[in-house]
């Protein structure tokens, strides 16, 4: 597979450490989280496999293009609109989470509107870039930050305060019935692959996707899920973890760099996750913008050579996000995220049927073409 494909999956997995995912996982730790992690990992890998196989069969084509060829208008317009909203929400949930984090830890004296606005403005114009440029941006920023990620992981696993007894204790709960909320949150970690609905435009050559690639992805998914769930428990203990709103920020604050310019690792962690949140929102909103562009044909709206259609998207994204940032509380965000994760898990499994239908119709279309 092209390396850009892995970035899509990796960024989604890494960025979700700051979202509500770890909170959800840890919240249900006595109600079947551990077994749900395993189930979620397997289901997540299945989703990655199916979506990759599907889009690999149609190199260079986006889902809207495929739907136009195979289905009728009354079906694909509402569906794509719904998907665009989904992607917008996925981006906005990361945005809100990170705004709260910034207010809480890094810039407590700046008004929340300004924090949100700065984040939105810095990202929103990037979403209008061409798809290949988005991927190049992701790659460069990711490569610059990769050493920091590796450093934090090594630091966490080799830390003296990491108590493996707590982790063993947590693992003992594996025999419980898997929890549905946790499964959905785990699946959400693997959903980076679904960005292919637009990003497949970039992969114009047929990719090499076999057992090796699946094993790599399953391994990455497993390692991420394990780290997300067990490391905070190892640091804080099985019972004390209950009281933490942001388990991973607290975990990174338990680490210390004794000889470095920055002593508390939490600040490195926060800035790193600012970058990761940026990338994650960039990916999600790029897909949302492209889908909206497809549905409403914004490029046709012109007044004296000015594309005011794009302005509508920018305004809508900014105002809606700011409204959500100001109105939502942390508890509401947690609850809504849970619902959103459950919804995405169901929808993207249900989309299997659409994919199956499309690929059948496309085969038929190909045969017809070759006959003619």
């Amino acid at each position: 597979m092209s390396r850009y494909y892995y970035y899509l999956i990796l960024i989604n997995m890494i960025a979700n450490i700051i979202s509500a995912v770890p909170t959800i996982l840890l919240h249900y730790r006595q109600e079947g989280a551990v077994s749900a992690l395993l189930v979620g990992m397997v289901l997540g890998t299945i989703i990655v496999f199916v979506y990759t196989k599907f889009f690999n069969a149609f190199p260079g084509m986006t889902l809207p293009e495929l739907l136009v060829k195979t289905t009728s208008k009354w079906f694909y317009y509402p569906m794509l609109f719904f998907m665009a909203i989904m992607w917008y929400i996925a981006g906005v949930s990361t945005l809100i989470t990170y705004t709260f984090l910034l207010i809480r830890y890094l810039t407590p004296d700046i008004p929340i509107m300004l924090v949100g606005l700065t984040l939105i403005i810095s990202i929103i114009f990037g979403c209008f870039m061409k798809t290949d440029r988005v991927l190049y941006t992701i790659e460069i920023i990711f490569l610059i930050n990769f050493p920091i990620i590796v450093f934090i992981i090594i630091k966490a696993y080799t830390n003296e305060s990491l108590n493996w007894d707590f982790i063993m204790e947590a693992m003992l709960h594996v025999v419980e019935m898997p929890n549905l909320n946790v499964i959905a949150a785990c699946i959400f970690l693997s959903l980076g692959v679904v960005n292919l609905v637009i990003f497949n435009r970039f992969f114009t050559n047929k990719q090499n996707f076999g057992l090796k690639q699946i094993i790599v992805i399953a391994f990455i998914a497993g390692a991420t899920i394990f780290t997300t769930y067990f490391i905070p428990i190892g640091f804080h203990g099985y019972t004390a973890i209950e009281e933490l709103v942001y388990p991973w920020v607290a975990t990174s604050d338990s680490m210390r760099m004794r000889y470095f310019l920055i002593e508390r690792l939490v600040y490195v962690f926060l800035l790193l996750y600012l970058v990761m949140a940026f990338l994650s929102i960039l990916i999600h909103w790029h897909v949302a913008v492209e889908l909206f562009k497809f549905i409403f044909k914004f490029e046709r709206m012109k007044y004296k050579g000015i594309h005011y259609g794009y302005l509508i998207i920018v305004l809508f994204f900014t105002v809606a996000s700011l409204f959500l940032i100001v109105t939502l509380t942390e508890y509401q965000l947690f609850q809504y995220s849970k619902i959103f994760f459950n919804l995405t898990a169901v929808i993207f499994f249900a989309m299997f049927f659409v994919l199956f239908y499309v690929s059948r119709r496309m085969k038929g279309a190909d045969n017809k073409d070759s006959e003619n």
């Binding site: 810095s122 920023i141 090499n208």
Partner: protein, 447 residues
Amino acid sequence: MVSTESLSWIVSQFKDTKELTQKELEFENKKMTVLYIKSLIDQELFQQYIVNPFFEMKTEEQFRVYLTALPQFQEVQSKEEGLFYVMEGNILVALQENLYAIDFKLAKNSDVNSTSVETTIHGSELALSDNLMTNVNIIRSFYHQPSLIIEYYLKGEVNKPKVALIYDQEKVKKKALEIIKEKLQQIDKQIITETPQFNNFLNDKRFSLFPQMILTERPDRVVYNLAGGKVVLLVDGSPQSMIAPAVFFDFMTTMEDNYHTLFISYYLKMLRYFGIFVCILLPGIYIGAASFSPEVIRTELMLTIAGSRMGVPFTSFVEVLFMLFFMELLLEASIRLPKAISATAATVGGLILGTAVTEAALASNIMVIIVSAVAISTFVIPVNEMAFAIRIVRLFLIVIASIFGLAGLTLGLLCLIMYLVNQSSFGEPFLRVYNYGKGDKKSEGQA
């Protein structure tokens, strides 16, 4: 082709000046007319190869054959062409109703300069010259390929300098070449004096910050880039060449990287990239740490900074801008100053201002260190054009950092990267990571 008619037309173009010299030579039933601009031609060559043989040869026909055999010989097809040849420094010879041009151009600027902008320790010390033909000669003699194409254009309506477009036909990036040729056609400027002007002429955007072509004076860089499939632009009278398309990493390489051993060149490259980050981020980090989140930096260091800032009446933002402003002034002044005075400027600026400012408690000691670190790391960037752009970007990041602290600085850096990636230089993305290991086997296309 009636030569007398053309000659009188050309002479009539110069009617009010005394520049043009016209001579009728007649000796032993041989007759010819020569036409030239005295200040443009090499008079010794003229006498040795045209005047002397004319009087020595037996017949007019023999002399004509002799002329055609000269390497500088060219046949003139029309009177406009004739006019152009005269202006270029050719000698027009009218013989038996035929018009010939003999290139005896005298160029006093054909000496090869020594490198003054891109100096290196290893590698050649010689740069390009001010003369186009000498430059073409240098490039051709460094690049032995029959596929090397040199195309000449006349641009600039008033002074009409010769512009040369050089590329390797087999290796050149076709798309970039097409764009460049198309944009070259569209140029309508009155005066073109230097090659760097093309950076703006070939660029459609009115507001652009980063250069889209590399400016270089080193022949080895020109040859290296020609082999890499790039297009080189030269203008007569300019000692610099422009290379397009250029990507960000081109601006961060010196030719010396190829002349060092592997580890040394990696070390130097790393140093350079580290330098560029320091130069962009350090003032912003200082502002963010001193004014917004002092808890980020370790306590001992933060106490040192705070202690050094004791008595400074400004916020860190004003302090940084204040010192940077003087540093930029010093930089700009030392370019313009005559060499004799520039040493004084350095002393006044560096020593007196540096110490006095801290003693007067207008800036902290640490601020002075930061400003000098920033100044030094700006000079690490090998191509000067990029250094200028980076200086402006730095100001932009300082402003963001002073509004939004460290988080703003990070976002600003991300936006800068995004902006760079979104730029294109003649169809090539300005910034992207290349995978050299894979060769040409790509598993993805462009969207």
